[in-house]
């Protein structure tokens, strides 16, 4: 809780909560960033032969023609893989409902199940040569029937995996009865009003500007491996490599260098390349690097979003939901390495800020011969919110009520927290919301967008022959899931503060926000603090960066580590100054007696005192001797329970998730002739608890909304009936440029989380979550046509107009 941070310290250093400029930028704006492909200038290059078919049996692989390529070093197929490396990749998150989880082999064994599946790895002098060799390798395929489209797959005329009946990976039902014990279906039957409809959400993908990549260096003298990967979890990649290669864990280090965006796809681990490249590097005793190209990223990493939802809802005259019954068909692609997290998140987060009388949700997670589905920013929430918010709008339309009134009628009230939704969340813990103020959010949003004056604006536009509409969408986002993160903080005798945490960064500005936390907690100048993330040499235990968890879990772990350091510093200072530690304060890196500033000692000196071995390498170590009390002959120089050095390590393990929330509204204009859709205004009210750096939080929101706009209007993965991805390039997959993204107006509401010391929730994913719902609502409002699928292009809208 923020109360635990003493206001005096916050005031003095003043960086927590401030718009501090980013640490990361100096290197990134001068070309000195170190992204994966910037490393290993002399490494050999790996390239892959990937399946051109969605479903086929491999009859034969003929590499003969490639062997003459000048510069070729090695060619590997599944047959070459030893021991556990030849086994399927791990299923990361098993679940009892995932009865038929399947994962791919690092290199295809006998059958390929999507276009892009790796079949052969080639190592050569450079990437050009490696690709030359790839193009000369002949793979003889027997083509099998591809299964494309989730509904077709559910009919199971053909199977993706021979041993998975019905193509069903998982089936799960969760049911929360009404307070009076009635089931959702009973409540709907008995409700004064009922509606039933279907919603469709298309596939999209993270598409970070930098694809994946791996660079491995085997040190034969030291028998150790150093691997760089463009990953969201270097600690887990390390464990995977050690296990798959049979190396002792301390002999493997994994580093996430600068990473050019992740958005979820880089949390999956190990990618085939992440174990194949290190394996070959050790085998050949050569540095090897693989850098994913754009087409590879489209066809062989991961996608998300695609769902079909069948909704039934019962409600009263005020629009209060009495029962909700949702049945989801979720397309998980060819494999399920990440389990069923996405449909579980959809099922649970669908509830949003609302009290739903009785709820039943059922999903089937279905195999298709397409790229696997793993979390993409929002991770199932955009679909859940699309469902709930479209439902709210339909209720309002049915009753002829204001859409915001219907929402307000269903809100959880501020005095009802902690609020138990009666379900199990993605982390296996109860879905209990920690805090929030939804009525206030809505009030702020209506004011920001001008909800009440919109009818006048619409009339005005209509008088000019223009068609405009307004939409609103609300969400609650479980953030900061456990199990834990850790932080390490060390003050050295030069007064510098070195901080590390195991989770990784992909542009979120962690070096900056964590330094803000440390400067505030420890009472040191911001400039003295440096932060390292995602480097297993510095911190070995971590989970990773996903689920908007870095600020919550690592942020609090670092704060707790600072408190340990602070306590130790005050203890040593009290000794040296012959003062009571309770009378001491740290300001600007100097410990002093409150009210007597002359009685002081800098942290740098305390760092020296904390280590009985007094080096005399610098002024500080010499100066420190004046404070050193003579060691007592009957005590060891390092007392029991103590450690040398001014440093501390701590972990933060949340009891359960925090719940951030927000509400968005948009005004769109649709062209009566061309059906072009233009977003005129976009407003966001956002509550992620205490803000560490509002500038960075706003940046996260902007980026999220932009991805949401992509998902709402432009982005979809187009597969043909053969399972070919037709738009696997930036030319054809329409990511928004600056011209497509509206200016985003943002207001913050801060309801601190009572669950953690800093009072923070997470902010990383929020922006993207409600956008499809909001834009659909606004288009529907402009056009008077129900919008029940996303994305919606001008041609789609045109078709809807014709069908009206």
């Amino acid at each position: 809780m923020s109360e635990r941070r003493e206001p005096a310290r916050e005031h003095v250093t003043g960086v927590f909560g401030k718009r501090v400029q980013r640490r990361e930028d100096a290197r990134l704006i001068t070309g000195r960033g170190r992204f994966l492909d910037d490393l290993g200038g002399n490494a050999l290059a790996a390239a892959f032969v990937r399946s051109p078919h969605a479903h086929a049996r491999i009859r034969d692989i003929d590499v003969a023609a490639a062997l003459d390529v000048d510069g070729l070093v090695a060619i590997y197929t599944w047959e070459d893989l030893p021991g556990v490396l030849a086994e399927p990749l791990p299923l990361l998150i098993p679940h009892p409902a995932l009865t038929h989880g399947r994962t791919a082999y690092p290199l295809a064994r006998e059958v390929v199940r999507h276009v892009g599946e790796p079949v052969v790895m080639v190592v050569a002098r450079d990437r050009y040569v490696a690709e030359d060799a790839c193009s000369l390798i002949e793979v003889d395929y027997e083509i099998l029937k591809p299964v494309v489209g989730v509904e077709e797959a559910a009919q199971a005329a053909h199977l993706v995996h021979e041993d998975v009946p019905g193509n069903v990976a998982a089936h799960m039902v969760q049911e929360v009865p009404a307070p009076d014990g009635r089931s959702a279906r009973e409540a709907i039957e008995a409700a004064p009003h009922t509606l039933a409809f279907r919603l469709d959400i298309e596939r999209s993908a993270c598409t970070p500007l930098e694809g994946k990549g791996v660079y491995a260096r085997w040190d034969a003298d030291d028998e150790s491996l150093r691997v760089y990967s463009s990953t969201q979890t270097s600690t887990s990649v390390r464990m995977a490599i050690a296990a798959k290669l049979g190396l002792p864990l301390p002999k493997v280090e994994v580093i996430a260098p600068d990473v050019g965006g992740g958005f979820g796809v880089k949390i999956v681990h190990p990618w085939p390349e992440e174990i194949l490249v290190p394996w070959a590097a050790r085998l050949l005793d050569r540095e090897i690097k693989w850098t994913e190209d754009r087409r590879e990223h489209f066809i062989s990493s991961a996608h998300e979003r695609a769902q079909v939802q069948y909704v039934r809802v019962g409600f009263d005259d005020d629009g209060r939901v009495l029962g909700l019954d949702v049945n989801i068909l979720h397309d998980n692609g060819a494999y399920t390495p990440y389990g069923i997290i996405v449909p579980i998140v959809t099922s649970t987060q669908l509830l949003g800020p609302y009290k739903i009388g009785a709820y039943r949700v059922e999903f089937s997670s279905i195999y298709t011969n397409t790229v696997q589905v793993t979390p993409y920013r929002g991770a199932g929430r955009p679909q859940g919110v699309f469902c709930m918010e479209r439902t709210m709008d339909r209720i309002a339309a049915h009753l002829g009520r204001d859409r915001t009134d219907v929402r307000a009628a269903n809100f959880i009230q501020p005095d009802e927290f902690p609020y138990d939704q009666g379900m199990t969340f993605q982390d296996g813990r109860p879905l209990i919301y920690d805090s929030g103020d939804y009525p206030e959010s809505l009030r702020m949003l209506k004011e920001l967008i001008g909800w009440d004056s919109f009818p006048a604006m619409r009339d005005q536009a209509a008088a000019e022959g223009r068609r405009i509409g307004i939409g609103v969408g609300c969400y609650v986002e479980g953030t900061g899931v456990g199990p834990y993160e850790g932080g390490h903080v060390q003050v050295t005798s030069d007064g510098r503060v070195h901080v590390s945490t195991g989770l990784t960064s992909q542009g979120q500005g962690h070096e900056t926000v964590f330094a803000q936390i440390v400067a505030t907690e420890l009472g040191v100048p911001f400039e003295k603090v440096s932060v390292v993330t995602g480097d297993t040499r510095r911190f070995g235990y971590a989970v990773g960066t996903f689920a908007s968890r870095a600020a919550v879990v690592s942020g609090n772990a670092i704060a707790l580590a600072c408190r340990k350091v602070r306590e130790k510093a005050l203890r040593i200072a009290a000794d040296a100054l012959e003062a009571d530690p309770r009378d001491l304060e740290i300001t600007d890196g100097v410990v002093h007696v409150v009210g007597a500033p002359s009685a002081s000692i800098p942290l740098s000196t305390i760092a020296v005192l904390s280590n009985p071995l007094r080096y005399a390498f610098d002024d500080e170590t010499r100066r420190a001797t004046q404070f050193a009390s003579a060691p007592s002959p009957d005590r060891p120089p390092v007392s029991e329970g103590e450690e040398p050095g001014l440093e501390g390590r701590d972990y933060y393990s949340p009891i359960r998730s925090t719940f951030a929330s927000g509400m968005h509204a948009a005004i769109v204009e649709t062209d009566p002739l061309t059906a072009e859709i233009k977003i005129l205004r976009y407003a966001v009210v956002h509550d992620c608890g205490k803000l560490i750096n509002p500038m960075i939080v706003e940046g996260q929101i902007h980026g999220g909304v932009a991805q949401g706009v992509g998902g709402a209007l432009y982005e979809k993965m187009v597969y043909d009936q053969h399972g070919q991805l037709l738009n696997a390039s930036f030319m054809d997959f329409l990511m928004p440029y600056a011209t497509e993204v509206p200016r985003i107006e943002t207001t913050h509401l801060e309801t601190p989380s009572p669950l953690n010391p800093l009072g923070v929730k997470g902010a990383g994913e929020a922006g993207v979550i409600p956008v499809s719902a909001v834009i659909a609502a606004a288009i529907e409002d402009a056009e008077g046509i129900p919008i029940d699928r996303m994305p919606i292009s001008p041609s789609d809208l045109h078709a809807l107009r014709l069908a009206r």
Binding site: L209, G699, Y737
Partner: protein, 159 residues
């Protein structure tokens, strides 16, 4: 067969021996070690690989190195002068115009050339100028702000 080429990169004469098919982006990154120029698509759409060729922005992933023999190239590494950041670089940091920073070199080069030709652009012109570059992180709002801010800094310093 390799070709011997000479480029003037960031004011320095650089030589390389490259096959005809070597992309300029690869030549800069791998032959000359200037890894500040990034590659996001290699099909000319994202703009991450943008460099200035005789002052004009080009996509180095769509350019063969051998075709620019003898020409002058400015990459992101050459935008600062004598250790001092250019107005565009400063503005991007000040306005939080970057997150992961992968697209940033392309935006910086594009904006540098744009503001040289149009030192006082309006909103529409800024939007137009950067509308050929993709960024997946920022939502562009702060990039737009940064370009305006850079124009301002440039004007202040000229004045």
């Amino acid at each position: 067969m390799n070709h011997h080429i000479t480029l003037v990169v960031n004011g320095v004469v650089r030589e390389a021996s490259v096959p005809a098919r070597r992309l300029l982006s690869d030549c800069l990154r791998h032959d000359l070690g200037l890894t500040g120029t990034h590659v996001g698509c290699e099909h000319g759409v994202c703009g991450a690989c943008t460099v200035l060729l005789d002052g004009e922005p080009v996509r180095s992933c769509l350019t063969f190195a051998v075709t620019v023999d003898g020409r002058e190239i400015t990459t992101v590494e050459g935008l600062a002068t004598g250790g001092e950041l250019s107005p565009v670089q400063r503005a991007f940091a000040e306005c939080h115009g970057l997150q992961c920073g992968f697209c940033t070199p392309g935006f910086l080069c594009t904006a540098t050339a744009f503001l040289r030709d149009n030192p006082a652009p309006d909103d529409e012109e800024v939007l137009e100028a950067i509308s050929g570059n993709l960024c997946r992180c920022t939502g562009y709002q702060n990039i737009i702000k940064a370009v305006h801010r850079a124009a301002e800094i440039q004007a202040e310093e000229a004045g």
